[in-house]
């Protein structure tokens, strides 16, 4: 959707906010926890529960894309080690 992309203003583009649960420089756990939380949230509340999208935003900005791709693949194959 090129129109929607053009409507995005610079102010709308924000990275994940500081979370006091993960105050360290190493944000790996923030990434993983958000990924797990997102899918758990969707499992509990269904696909269309808006607050879940917060976690999606966070893990997309914190996690390396390669990790997200690998975890998605693992979830598809049923080998994801986390408890969703």
């Amino acid at each position: 959707m090129p129109l929607a992309a053009a409507a995005l203003k610079l102010e709308d583009l924000k990275t994940a906010p500081f979370d006091p649960r993960f105050p360290n420089t190493n944000q790996t756990r923030y990434c993983y926890q958000s990924y797990v939380d997102y899918h758990r949230c969707q499992k509990i509340r269904g696909q269309n529960y808006a607050p879940c999208d917060y976690f999606k935003k966070v893990f997309h900005s914190i996690c390396p894309n390669a990790w997200v791709e690998r975890w998605d693949q693992q979830r598809e194959d049923g080998t994801f080690p986390g408890n969703i």
Partner: protein, 81 residues
């Protein structure tokens, strides 16, 4: 060796600061290692106690020393589902 017993230490008072500093260093290292082993949310000793979680730090300080941030006033922006 001179200075290792209390009696000979009386004659070598210059060793006292050395013992103090080494003691402080060892004590600090042991204390912090134990703190990491027991308080760090990334460390789990017992599998039966469930998944490791940072949830308790939503409004609590996690760092050992944080002079300029008051964690009791911060709120985690993550929603609870």
């Amino acid at each position: 060796m001179q200075g290792l017993s209390l009696k000979s230490l009386q004659k070598h008072k210059a060793l006292l600061p050395l013992y103090f500093c080494v003691g402080l260093g060892c004590g600090g290292a042991i204390f912090y290692t134990l703190r990491l082993a027991t308080r760090n949310p990334d460390v789990q000793w017992n599998r039966a106690s469930g998944e490791i979680s940072n949830e308790e730090f939503r409004t609590k300080q996690y760092k050992f020393y944080s002079p300029n941030v008051d964690y009791s006033k911060l709120q985690s922006p993550a929603p609870k589902y």
